[in-house]
């Protein structure tokens, strides 16, 4: 009897989970379907779910009109560049706060996090003017630096949480075993922190890839990444739903694939320290 009840319960839970998953992913599924429709089918009322003329011509038109690969490379350079730059700055910061904490370490960490609480638009004008004066409008360098600064608090926090989990005694043991600072980091610290560093990198590549406030406001034709590429399809001349959908799918596909293959690493990274 108890077994039957638990089976019913499991079926119920499974259905509920699928239901929630469907609701959450519906916009993406709808976008994917729309990208294979003609513009007429895309705006048909009532909407057509599967019974329409399937076509892939939107994808060709989008590539032809606005050079997808140019934007793709901009996205790659901006997201990976800003993440690596953030790592170079964050790793020593996290290391010192995790292993040589001072009296104000916690306050510094909170202050870093507090910068994320301010809306980005609050600093739009100063940053825009700085970029203009430095001649960095519409440049990938400016975006790399700005996205690095935006994500730096998260990168430091994540690395700090990871490094904090490494017992100090192990590093002391390395010192007793004759390792200098370089060898201690190279042979002991980094191998133990690699899963943490990897998931931090992954998450921040995703955040930078999807970032659309700064990428839309500070770029022109030259340095625009995929976010700007999508936005260019909601134009004043009217919406082209099918083409917009095709552009969106092309923009999110790389990160969706990356996320799919690394979801285990990502989940571990995000819940690290929360569950021991």
């Amino acid at each position: 009897m108890a077994r039957k009840k638990s089976n019913q319960y499991r079926i119920l839970i499974t259905c509920a989970a699928w239901g929630v998953a469907l609701i959450l992913s519906f916009p993406i599924i709808w976008t994917l379907l729309t990208s294979f429709k003609t513009e007429i089918d895309a705006i048909a009322s009532p909407p057509k779910l599967f019974h329409f003329n399937w076509t892939i011509e939107n994808y060709f038109i989008v590539q032809e009109r606005s050079d997808y690969f140019h934007h793709f490379w901009n996205s790659v350079i901006i997201s990976i560049g800003s993440t690596l730059l953030a790592l170079v700055i964050a790793l020593p910061a996290a290391w010192s706060m995790a292993f040589i904490p001072g009296r104000r370490t916690k306050d510094i960490l909170m202050w870093m996090l507090s910068t994320k609480m301010m809306p980005a638009v609050g600093v739009l004008i100063p940053i825009y003017l700085i970029c203009k004066d430095l001649g960095l409008l519409d440049s990938r360098l400016a975006l790399v630096v700005i996205l690095m600064l935006m994500n730096l608090p998260i990168v430091i926090w994540m690395l700090f949480t990871y490094l904090k989990e490494i017992p100090g005694e192990i590093l002391e043991a390395a010192r007793m075993d004759g390792a200098n600072l370089k060898n201690e980091i190279l042979y002991v610290l980094v191998p133990m922190a690699i899963p943490g560093i990897a998931s931090t990198l992954l998450l921040n590549v995703i955040l930078s890839w999807n970032e659309s406030f700064w990428t839309l406001n500070l770029t022109g034709a030259n340095s625009a990444p995929l976010t700007a590429f999508i936005a260019s399809y909601s134009s004043p001349e009217g919406l082209f739903y099918a083409k917009l959908s095709a552009a969106s799918i092309m923009a999110i596909a790389p990160i969706l694939i990356l996320g799919w293959f690394s979801q285990k690493q990502l989940v571990r990274g995000l819940t690290f320290g929360a569950v021991k």
Binding site: R175, M176, D177, G178, A179
Partner: protein, 332 residues
């Protein structure tokens, strides 16, 4: 070689003075045990010797050379940590070979020394395993192996057995003692367990609040404790302390008598009391007795038949009494 001298060493954390000026000498080949209650500064002192903490003032000499400002890696000491502190991503073999690799030895030499050490510690069949796949005792042996491979001038042990169960602790205690006899190197061993101190040490250093209370061989500390703290800390069960009339009568402020130095009788004796509880260990029996002077513990060899509530008479062995003055210092 491995003579360690501490000259006026002090340590403060901020405004808190953990170790007031302290002088101590540990001779080459000696097994010295630092013992004391938790928070008495013994582990801090070990970390100062290791170089993992900086001294606030004073000097640490290793083999006559001033090592006060040397980095841990330059001091030529090896340390075994309470948590084992093995490298989780390396195999046993790599863990044990790590100090040799850091010393720049060739892979052949490392292989040879690691297998010799693994042989000594019965670890040969585990060389390819990771620390996570070993039991507590095996991990502790790997930690010891990592310490012995490079033949350091001295070994530092920081409560190495506290994470092991009671049976394993006894075995490992013997193994460490045997190792000391085989290697004949200086060893400094920190523990809060006075049984470990008594069984392993050549020289025991008793600490209390950062201060050395007494330095001596286990037997010296047992027979002639310098003060009430040492008298109460060394020996199990604890020494009985008697104050008041009975002490004054014998010319002291506090009278100390170990549980094993009291004779018991059902009919006659100097002190009268009532048995509260008996603990029968087979080899010994401990009695907790309520008397006019307070509770007294008595230890008798073998099985002794007294029950709770029985009237009992106690007679201390006069030549085994310890006399202390008002300050708690031993009266010779």
């Amino acid at each position: 070689m491995g003579k360690i001298q501490l000259q006026n060493v002090t340590k403060s954390f901020g405004d808190t003075n953990v170790i007031p000026p302290l002088n101590l000498e540990i001779n080459d080949g000696e097994f010295a045990v630092f013992v004391g209650p938790s928070g008495c500064g013994k582990s801090t002192l070990l970390r100062l010797i290791a170089g993992l903490e900086d001294t606030t003032s004073g000097h640490i000499l290793i083999d006559g050379k001033d090592a006060t400002y040397m980095s841990p890696s330059d001091r030529g000491l090896a340390m075994v940590f309470q948590s084992y502190a093995l490298y989780p991503h390396m195999t046993v073999k790599k863990n044990m070979g790590f100090p040799l690799k850091m010393a720049g030895m060739s892979p052949e030499e490392i292989e040879e020394k690691v297998s010799a050490a693994a042989n000594t510690l019965n670890l040969t069949q585990y060389l390819e395993r990771k620390p996570g796949q070993l039991s507590g005792g095996q991990r502790q042996r790997v930690a010891i192996g990592r310490a012995i491979v490079r033949q350091p001038s001295a070994f530092l042990f920081d409560e190495p057995l506290s994470n092991l169960d009671a049976a394993l602790r006894v075995t490992m205690r013997l193994e460490i003692s045997e190792l000391h006899q085989k290697l004949k190197s200086t060893m400094i061993y920190v523990t809060h367990d006075q049984v470990e101190a008594m069984t392993m040490a050549d020289k025991i250093v008793v600490f209390n609040s950062g201060v050395i209370e007494q330095v001596g061989t286990p037997v010296e500390l047992y027979r002639t404790p310098k003060n009430l703290f040492v008298a109460g800390f060394i020996g199990s069960p604890k020494m009985n302390f008697i104050q008041g009339n009975e002490a004054t009568k014998r010319g002291s402020s506090t009278l100390g008598i170990r549980p094993e130095h009291i004779d018991v009788s059902a009919t006659e004796g100097e002190w009268e009391g009532t048995v509260i509880l008996g603990e029968h260990l087979g080899s010994d029996t401990f009695f907790y007795i309520e008397t006019e002077m307070g509770a007294i513990t008595v230890r008798q060899s073998g099985e002794v038949a007294f029950k709770s509530g029985d009237k009992i008479y106690l007679t201390p062995l006069t030549n085994m009494l310890h006399h202390f003055d008002e300050q708690g210092t031993r009266i010779p």
